[in-house]
Amino acid sequence: MGNRLDLSHHINSRSRAGLGIFFCPGVAVPLLLLLSILFLQVIPAHAFSAETQVAQVSSTVESGAVKAVEGVEVKDKASELIKSYKAGKSKRLKKGPPAPALEAKDYPVVEGVSPRVTVWLAAQMHLWFAAFVLAVPIFVLILEVIGMVTGDSRYDRTAYEFIRVSITAYSITAITGGLLLLSLVVFYPALMGYLSSVFGSTMLGYGLLFFIESITLYIYYYGWGIMNDGGGLKRLHLFVGLLLNMSGTALMFIANAWVTFMMSPAGVDKMGAFQGGVFAAINNHLWSPMNLHRFVANIAYGGSIVGAYAAYQYLSSKSQASRAHYDWMGYTASLIAIGALLPIPFAGYWLTAEIYSYSQQMGITLMGGVFGWLFIIQAVLIGALFLAANYYLWCGMGRAEGGNRYTGYIKYIAIVLVLSFLVWFTPHNIVLTASETSALGGQYHPWLKALGLMPAKNTAVNIMVIFTYISFLLYRRSGKASTVPWASTATAVEVGLFGAAILNIIFLGVYYGYYTDNVYKVVSSIPQVMTTLTVILLSLCIEWLIFRRAERAGGFTWGRMPDRSQYALVLIAVSFTWLMGLMGFVRSAIRQNWHVYSIMKDNSPEAYTPSIAYAARVVSFGTIVFMALIIFIFWLSSLGKGEENKV
């Protein structure tokens, strides 16, 4: 059969149902968006009327309740501004109204429903599904390309298996998106009104892109079998896949613009009046780092979910062939997940640095104070992800006949990982008992306090990344035996490289982190990252040279993994989901009591920062609901598969 996969026979029978699924989100969502924009133009009239605005602005300025920057001047400025707004309105300039100053009565109350939790859960649910739905096509496209290049039909089969899942997930994404929009319009009409005064035009673009994404997804999925001719049509199919991914990613970028605008508003003046340039508002301070962070994380997330699915199928497989298939699938998925996971700490670091540079207050709120502890939780979860990834690779050595050669190294890798991990989550502000406080004479332990700072954490995470990578190298080597005579020399060079890199990272961290001017403290993380990346790339090249014509030392026997190892894949997926929820919370929470940071104050009864414990409960609840829905989707798509097999 080669790399061709004949799926056309079952497509006709299912296309009618598919049409329904397609029309639902594809048409309903743009419609819903349009309707809500119209709706919003009407609602917040009282909040926008210039008179109330003047009264509210001047009263808040006088009382000093709001961060009024220039004292009395602002009052004059505000009235001037409103005058100019009125004038501008008559001249039909595109300038928007100032952000409304809200009071408790501006927030609709629905008895027994907490607006915040409703919006929170709806947004989180939408985000999880959206991440999944965006990630799977990226993932599928990568697999399809690999499959086409290598001619290995397993890739194509796996890719098709997943795009089918993503069709169902797609409609749930649209439904949760609708729920989110609905809950926002119901509970925060004034905020939505204000945001649409800034982003109205992008919302239309959003609807359009959604439409394009729906069409391309439809063609991509239903055209899979028909276009699978291995030639021109297949290329066209890949192109459709590319379009699908581009429109999906563009959708995410637009949504990111709304979200980051709320954190670091741009394109508006101090009173929040829109200045007319929508791209200035889109390209606000945090937009690009957020785009990168979410894009990379999405890939990792998609991989992790696919990995968990493969793990389940592996465990419940009866035949050796299907065990082998799902073992391979789990491995490929986790490889993509872990590969995408490695750069995420660095993308996150960029985002954090930009948050600091945008507002010191926001930065310190994020990393110190209440949320300092949230990052300890994050550290524990990321550590767990790294451990699970390593464990999976270690177990994977059992697939190879020659795997025993390397198992002896595992414990040394583990020791380094544990040490880095302990540094990674040691808090700066430690919980102390009273007797410990008096013994230490303060809040900090004189020895451990150094571990709580960023230079130590950066060093630790770089070393963790390198050793995870070494695990991967050893795993790869376990299935191969090199034939080139200089292999041992090359290996020695590699060991030297890794040693030098680690020494360099430690030196940079310790020297620049603790013994020189503080200016270098943040900056030194960049050469650390560069060292890590360089050594990884160099050793990849060397490995490729050594094993270019390698013999298989027995090769890998797929399907020969202990069942325990599959739970590592489940752990990665669950931890990823939970972590996304938690970090989504903190991203939103550092705005504190602002809807739009420093411009539009949240004066609803729930405008306070909930405790981490509370947030964790909400996130856990959301994760369980999401996981249940995901399982439901996989079950749905397995029904279709059963039908397929019968045919």
Binding site: E62, A65, S316, W373, V380, W578, A615
Partner: protein, 188 residues
């Protein structure tokens, strides 16, 4: 099916352990739970100066953080209006007040004019009060609030409220309107 249950169990256990870690290991920090007194600040027109002053005293003014019944950080004030004559009449008094209202107001905006024995701090050779000027800085009470606090202090001393409320016009209304939304207590 067996594996399905195992995996679900494993996932739930994992989520549970993350939750337990966040709830029980991480210190419980609640930023929004402040003094219950800070909860509702009703407009002065509705509640009158005494009740409004009480809200300011326990709420935004932050007075009760030091002036509590223990009296170990600052003097206890339950009879302050009644005994104020002994303050502005004293020899070490450096201010200009001649009545209780004037003295109370003065000691809020210029606390060092009379430092109660045992509560001062030595600055150079002078004994000064560690109390901040409540009409500026982070507390920044306005005239209406200052007067309301005086009214409250007079009332708890069991005296007639004689302080005049300044600017009982639309301006004051606005201010209080703005103030009423500043602080709200919220519960989970």
């Amino acid at each position: 099916m067996n594996n399905f249950i195992k995996i679900i169990g494993f996932g739930v256990l994992l989520i549970l352990s993350y939750t337990l870690f966040s709830v029980y290991y991480v210190p419980d920090i609640n930023t929004h739970k402040s003094s219950k007194r800070q909860r509702v600040v009703l407009p002065i027109e509705e509640v009158g100066p005494v009740a409004y002053g009480e809200e300011v005293y326990y709420g935004r003014g932050g007075c009760a953080q030091c002036h509590d019944s223990a009296g170990d950080r600052a003097p206890e004030l339950s009879l302050i209006a009644a005994i104020s004559a002994s303050r502005y009449g004293a020899s070490q008094y450096t201010g200009t007040a001649t009545d209780a209202v004037g003295y109370l107001r003065e000691s809020m905006v210029e606390p060092s004019v009379y430092v109660v024995e045992g509560y001062g701090t030595l600055l150079g050779k002078k004994i000064v009060s560690p109390m901040p000027d409540v009409s500026s800085g982070s507390i920044s009470l306005n005239e209406v609030e200052l007067a309301a606090v005086i009214a409250y202090l007079q009332a708890i001393s069991g005296l007639e409220v004689t302080v005049k409320m300044p600017g009982a016009g639309p301006k004051a209304e606005e201010k209080n309107g703005a103030r009423s939304k500043v602080s709200k207590e919220a519960e989970e």
